[in-house]
């Protein structure tokens, strides 16, 4: 935080600076004293309070309530960490957790790649009316998860679906995508990539627009090829945007539930259960919201840890070699 000197200069402390050191006001003591020690800030504090209360209500309270749920049984009895320890032995939960992570591992890099490719294409001089391209490319973002899932379910239909048409042209037998575990996983990943890569595209395109043109020209004169300039100028410059895109794509792809609901319903068997589907099933089908809350905590931790890692390794403001 930048520290501002809010005390006005004392009389006689002119530009001459002869006794500037003696008369300089003491440095402020930190953020909190800055915030509360000056009368000027009272209005500011008052303006912040309503939003702070709203935040506490909608963010802080549910988290605390979630902890209370974890520590009690469905009958309301205090059971300590029993829900969490039960989770460690729950193989269905393990399967769902692994499925979520697997999906993240496939979907995140693919979304970033597709998003970056699209962003570079639209940003290039060859793309004419950029606004048109952008509005077409972000259509998947506007479509709700359920609708996207329904649409792709039709696409994956063994005989009617569009997906099998080009495969049939190549002489490949029609694939019944959603009934085998491994093809269902691929099919779901494709839906998620289709659905989420526009988000990565938007963020990375915004990042590309912030790269000043003249550093490319400087690099070209300095002797860089286009490829080299991409590595040395573009990528480091859009790195913070990359971090944001990575986090958001990870969160979106691991928490997805609508696509699963509309396509596989978690099947075949429990092959496509992810964490969200597990939590939903536990809370509303098996009616064990307290136990499901423990899974919510795990999901929260997973997202938090992943986010921290992405920020730590991607969001580097400057690079020195």
């Amino acid at each position: 935080m930048t520290v501002q000197q809010t005390v006005s200069p004392l009389p006689g402390q002119g530009a001459s600076g002869a006794n500037r050191v003696d008369t300089q006001p003491p440095p402020p003591q930190g953020m909190w004293s800055e915030l509360f020690s000056f009368r000027d800030n009272r209005l500011g504090v008052m303006l912040i309070v309503p939003s702070l209360l709203a935040l506490i209500l909608v963010q802080f309270y549910p988290i605390v309530y979630n902890f209370w749920l974890i520590l009690t049984s469905e009958k309301g009895e205090w059971i300590g960490l029993a829900n969490l320890s039960r989770l460690t032995r729950d193989t269905i939960f393990h399967g769902a957790l692994i499925f979520s992570l697997k999906m993240g591992v496939v979907v995140v890099p693919m979304c970033l790649l597709v998003g970056l490719g699209l962003a570079l294409l639209v940003h290039s001089d060859y793309a004419g009316r950029k606004a048109i391209w952008i509005s077409i490319l972000i259509i998947p973002l506007m479509v709700s998860e359920i609708v996207a899932g329904m649409m792709w379910k039709i696409m994956y239909h063994p005989t009617l679906g569009l997906v099998n048409v080009p495969l049939a042209a190549l002489g490949i037998e029609p694939i019944i995508w959603l009934v085998k575990a491994d093809t269902a996983f691929i099919a779901l990943c494709v839906v998620e990539i289709w659905r989420i890569s526009p988000l990565a595209f938007l963020l990375l395109y915004a990042g590309l627009n912030q790269v000043p043109r003249d550093i490319y020209e400087a690099a070209a004169v300095d002797g860089a090829t286009r490829w080299r300039a991409f590595w040395d100028m573009t990528l480091p410059y859009i790195r913070p945007m990359f971090a944001i895109a990575t986090i958001l794509v990870f969160v979106w792809s691991t928490r997805t539930i609508g696509t699963i609901a509309a396509t596989t319903q978690g099947g075949p068997g429990r092959a496509t259960w992810n964490l969200s589907w597990y939590i939903y099933g536990m809370s509303f089908q098996r009616l064990k919201p307290h136990y499901a809350s423990a899974a919510v905590l795990v999901m929260l931790l997973m997202t938090y840890i992943a986010g921290t890692i992405f920020v730590r390794y991607l969001w580097v403001e400057r690079r020195s070699r």
Partner: protein, 360 residues
């Protein structure tokens, strides 16, 4: 090091002609300043030499090589941008080292050369900082360092001093000139600041509306402007222009205007008769070439309208019948406003009103 030869360079942006059939030879080791107002095509010319723009017509040679179809990186030129175009995500050291890294220079040599250049430019203390944390002057020198470190055959400078404060600008002007002399590298320097051009250049190429107006040494440009544009553009206090025509009076030729009657030498009158038969021409005279007395005698009298004291000299704004003249008073005489002075015109130029060309 190499000569730069520009032959018939023409550059269109859509329907707009930015540079029109420019011919220019920059001799090996020379510092040539491309001087002109905004939009005169000087930067476009330089970008064509750098390879950042492709000429519509014409050829560019660096040394013996025709470089039209070469990428910027294949031309071995260094460019200092007006905005500096430093790499914000690198430190100053990495900025300067970047061209060397691209040439796969050994690490130890990069280190040595970067530090040498930084020392030469007085920016050793900034090397570990990113450009964003350096002052404008330091950034400017980092950009210079990045150009110098690779020892290119040609330096291109695009108004490199326009973003720093006046005092530092005067200092850096001399510094760049000294560097260029020391390194002996051909340099093309673009500026709209005629003082910068006059003080730095071996040769000045004055441009306007995409065409070359005059190429010459600073003193040639100042003392013998080829046309009224060059005359108007060069000179920190601009030249005075008096519209009128040449007429015979009592056997001698005079330049007669609504305000003044100025005798013209027989030699000049002869050339004028040849080059400008109509006789309609504008007389141009530099502020320091108008002499004055306060005795109130002589034909050309005028009133002092305003004094502009500049310390070492005073500019007198003199008015006569709607015509304003600027006169340099270096002797700090006790002229006051509203005084009436007798003017005599020592050296002056005549410009054909039709073509704008100098009559000489």
């Amino acid at each position: 090091m190499a000569e730069v030869r520009i032959e018939g360079l023409t550059k269109y942006f859509g329907d707009t002609c930015a540079v029109n059939q420019l011919n220019l030879v920059v001799r090996d080791g020379d510092l040539v300043v491309l001087l002109g107002p905004s939009g005169c095509g000087k930067t476009t010319t330089m970008r064509c030499v750098a390879g950042l723009e492709r000429p519509t017509y014409g050829d560019i040679y660096i040394g013996e090589r025709r470089v039209n179809d070469l990428e910027p990186r294949e031309r071995d030129v260094a460019l200092v941008f007006q905005s500096y175009a430093l790499y914000p995500h690198f430190t100053a050291f990495d900025n300067i080292a970047y061209p060397l890294r691209l040439r796969k220079t050994p690490k130890a040599e990069i280190d040595r050369r970067v530090r040498d250049v930084a020392e030469m430019l007085g920016i050793s203390h900034t090397l570990e900082r990113p450009p964003g944390l350096c002052s404008g002057g330091e950034q400017q020198r980092i950009a210079l360092g990045r150009a110098i470190v690779r020892e290119p055959v040609v330096f291109l400078m695009d108004e490199p001093l326009s973003n720093i404060d006046a005092l530092l600008r005067v200092y850096m002007r001399a510094e760049i000139k000294r560097l260029q002399h020391e390194l002996g590298t051909t340099m093309i320097y673009v500026t709209h600041d005629q003082v910068e051009g006059m003080t730095m250049a071996d040769q000045i190429a004055v441009m306007n509306q995409g065409t070359l107006q005059q190429l010459g040494t600073p003193s040639e440009i100042y003392d013998m402007p080829a046309n009224n544009f060059v005359a108007r553009f060069v000179g920190s206090t601009p030249m005075n222009f008096i519209p009128g025509s040449l007429q015979k009076e009592n056997g001698t030729t005079v330049h007669k205007s609504d305000q003044f009657v100025i005798p013209v030498s027989a030699e000049m009158a002869g050339r004028a008769a040849e080059l400008c038969p109509s006789g309609v021409c504008t007389l141009g005279v530099r502020p320091e070439e108008i002499h004055f007395t306060m005795d109130g005698e002589g034909a050309n009298q005028a009133r002092v309208f305003l004094l502009e004291p500049l310390g070492s000299e005073t500019i007198l704004d003199i008015e006569k019948e709607g015509l304003l003249l600027k006169v340099k008073d270096v002797a700090s005489t006790q002229v006051r406003e509203e005084d009436v002075l007798s003017l005599s015109f020592n050296r002056f130029h005549l410009f054909d009103d039709e073509t704008g060309a100098a009559i000489r």
